[in-house]
């Protein structure tokens, strides 16, 4: 019995470690290749680099405006999330406190309907519209993200708020609070865990998204995000795959660093959002 048990355990470790190796293998290749010269890669592809060769990173950073794209990604993600957290809970609050009225029921249903519509169904006319209104820019991209996070966000926030008892707000009303005051003092603080969840889910999506930047920002290279820059970089410097891997690593790096420090927060955010949804 005992030996069988420990055999099981060894098998489990073996499988899990194999999985980890498969997950880390691309990262290993990326790391070592980005630190080598093409000649060194040709000699020994899989070996660790002999010396720390940092020129690849230097050329990505200097030749390719890496920091501009990095900053653009930050701006897009942070501003989109901030706007979302301002307007979406407000909507959800109004809907959840008026669910008996026709207007709110209709707009809520309309919002839920949007969840089922894949982006590709509205992709072509949306891009045409953004272009007509001169919004093929970071501003347009941010507005798109607020719109698209709104659909699912409204659903999650309304669900959450319906489970929050109204007694507190009622008593605040008795004390002379207006709707806005009770929202700010009572409801919004209650929303904090939900907001944290949404920041993780939507933040990951926005930061990593490629299709929307490809459609909205392809016009002006100074507005590219990191993901879009990757795709462009592939085109231009693909002779030098050491350079390409250096750029891959640089675009993964911000997320990796964030993940190292906030993995618990990120994982719990994802799980909470999924279980609620």
């Amino acid at each position: 019995m005992r030996t069988q048990n420990s055999l099981y355990r060894i098998a489990i470790y073996a499988v899990l470690i194999t999985g980890v190796l498969i997950i880390l293998f691309p990262l290993y290749i990326t790391l070592i290749t980005s630190l080598k010269t093409p000649q060194e890669s040709a000699r020994s592809f899989f070996a660790l680099p002999g010396t720390l060769y940092l020129d690849n990173f230097a050329s990505v950073v200097t030749k390719a405006h890496y920091f501009t794209y990095f900053l653009n990604s930050i701006i897009v993600t942070v501003v989109s999330l901030t706007c979302e957290m301002i307007v979406v809970p407000l909507f959800a609050y109004a809907v959840s406190r008026n669910s008996n009225k026709k207007y709110y029921r209709i707009i809520y249903l309309l919002t839920i309907f949007g969840i089922f519509v894949p982006f590709q169904a509205v992709m072509l006319p949306t891009i045409k519209l953004l272009s007509r209104t001169n919004l093929l820019s970071i501003t347009g991209l941010i507005l798109m993200y607020v719109t698209y996070t709104f659909k699912k966000g409204a659903f999650l926030f309304v669900g959450f708020l319906q489970s929050v008892p109204r007694e507190l707000e009622e008593s605040a009303y008795m004390d002379g609070c207006t709707i806005t005051q009770s929202y700010r003092r009572i409801v919004f603080p209650l929303l904090q865990p939900m907001i944290a969840t949404m920041i993780v889910i939507d933040g990951l999506w926005i930061w990593n998204d490629f299709l929307l930047p490809l459609l909205v920002l392809n016009k002006n290279s100074m507005q590219w995000t990191l993901q879009l820059f990757q795709f462009q970089f592939k085109n231009q410097y693909s002779f030098d795959f050491n350079l390409a891997f250096a750029s891959f690593l640089l675009s993964m790096l911000p997320m990796i660093i964030l993940y190292i420090f906030m993995q618990r927060f990120i994982i719990s955010g994802i799980t909470r959002g999924a279980v609620k949804g």
Partner: protein
């Protein structure tokens, strides 16, 4: 109660502020967007633009080069957002469609185009007698070969198709790689298709007949033979050619992996970049027995001005076009790009493409045939030809050619 409207206002201000920042411009300087689709000359244009801006302080030129430029341009035209200035290929049906829809500035007999060689302008003038493009350079395609390897093994340049096949067999017999095919990149395949359409058969009248409903691609034996030739050549290429992209193939040829490489002369800057020491040259792809060997020519760098209401931008764009087409700058461009110029008085200094360029100049040449394709035919030719290489289904390919040629339903 007061705070929420304030927040809303902030939100709207933020949005509109960013918006304004995106569109605002310094008064006094005109900024024009240069939508540049040729990846091989991005670096060169950066230099030329810096020089231009130094000489024209009131104008800023922003070069925009994107992956998938064809799709991007299409989606922008779809919403009337034509770039101030762009490069295009006047034999491309996408260019013709957009020109006829009025997106580009009419440059017929315009002084902007006065430096360009008149014959070349005539060759790209549309059927309605109008021209929307200032040609800067000419391209052609053929077979690159590694001179050092040819000398080492005592190989001769083939004059006929049979000699070409024999050469390939000989190299293969030595256990070496005769040709490298960038079949993973679909446009390189439609490039071979259009070459053979004019070299091995009279594709021009055939396409016109198919368009007029008088012929069917599926019944044409010459087309069938051409498709089979594309497949036949693959035995002299690397294993699984569909796994190699244009960039990878260029790199492999530049580093001596293959003896030959069927490509356009636009690959020269990239080959030089990948291996500055490579000794190489070109020869024309021989036609099938019974047909004269000729080479394709087309405009490689064509400058097109967006048809915009903003007169200042149009003027600035014209100034930049005049600058690029000045003899001195066009010479600089030609020397780096290795392409024959479409500008009067520019000397041709590249010995790599010289054998082909001589043929163009002796009029042993034909016009890039793809201007005859149906609208959207370019994209379909890319995918369709790649599908042929993938599944060797000649019948399906010929049926697809009917669409590409614009057979009425």
């Amino acid at each position: 109660m007061r705070k929420i409207p304030v927040l809303l206002c902030l939100f709207l201000m933020l949005a509109s502020g960013l918006w304004a920042a995106g569109t605002a411009e310094d008064s006094g300087t005109v900024t024009i967007e240069f939508f540049q689709q040729k990846r091989e000359v991005v670096d060169l244009f950066d230099e030329l633009i810096a020089d231009f801006e130094a000489k024209n302080p009131g104008i800023k030129v922003e070069q925009v080069h994107v992956a998938d430029s064809g799709q991007v341009l299409m989606s922008r035209l779809a919403s009337n957002d034509v770039p101030d200035l762009l490069t295009h290929w006047p034999n491309n049906t996408d260019y013709i469609t957009a020109s006829l829809e009025g997106y580009f500035l009419d440059l017929t007999d315009s002084p902007v185009a006065e430096n360009a060689i008149q014959n070349i302008i005539e060759s790209i003038t549309l059927e309605n007698g109008k021209n929307y493009c200032v040609p800067v350079s000419i391209n052609t395609q053929g077979i690159f070969y590694n001179k050092a390897l040819f000398e080492e093994y005592g190989l001769e340049i083939p004059k006929t198709w049979d000699e070409f096949v024999a050469l390939c067999r000989e190299i293969k017999g030595m256990g070496k790689l005769p040709l490298i095919f960038p079949d993973g990149t679909a446009w390189t395949l439609s490039q071979q298709l259009r070459m053979l359409l004019a070299l091995d058969l009279d594709g021009y009248s055939l396409i016109r007949d198919v368009k007029a409903g008088k012929a069917d691609a599926r019944d044409n034996q010459d087309l069938r033979a051409m498709a089979e030739k594309l497949l036949f050549l693959r035995q002299f290429g690397q294993k699984n050619s569909l796994g190699t992209s244009y960039e990878q193939a260029t790199f492999e040829f530049a580093t001596g992996k293959s003896f030959m490489f069927w490509q356009g002369i636009w690959a020269i800057p990239s080959i030089n970049k990948a291996n500055p020491d490579l000794s190489y040259s070109m020869f024309p792809l021989p036609a099938k027995a019974g047909r004269e060997t000729r080479v394709e020519y087309g405009v490689d760098l064509g400058l097109v001005i967006g048809n915009k209401k903003d007169a200042a931008k149009v003027e600035a764009a014209k100034k930049f076009v005049s600058y690029i087409t000045s003899t001195e700058v066009a010479q600089r461009y030609a020397d780096v790009d290795g392409s024959p110029s479409a500008i009067q008085g520019v000397k041709f200094n590249s010995d790599i493409s010289a054998p082909l360029v001589d043929m163009v100049q002796q009029s042993k040449s034909f016009r890039n045939i793809r201007y005859l394709y149906a609208p959207g035919g370019n994209g379909r030719a890319d995918t369709g030809t790649q599908q042929l290489i993938l599944d060797s289904d000649v019948d399906a390919f010929l049926a697809e050619l009917n669409y590409i040629f614009g057979k009425p339903e």
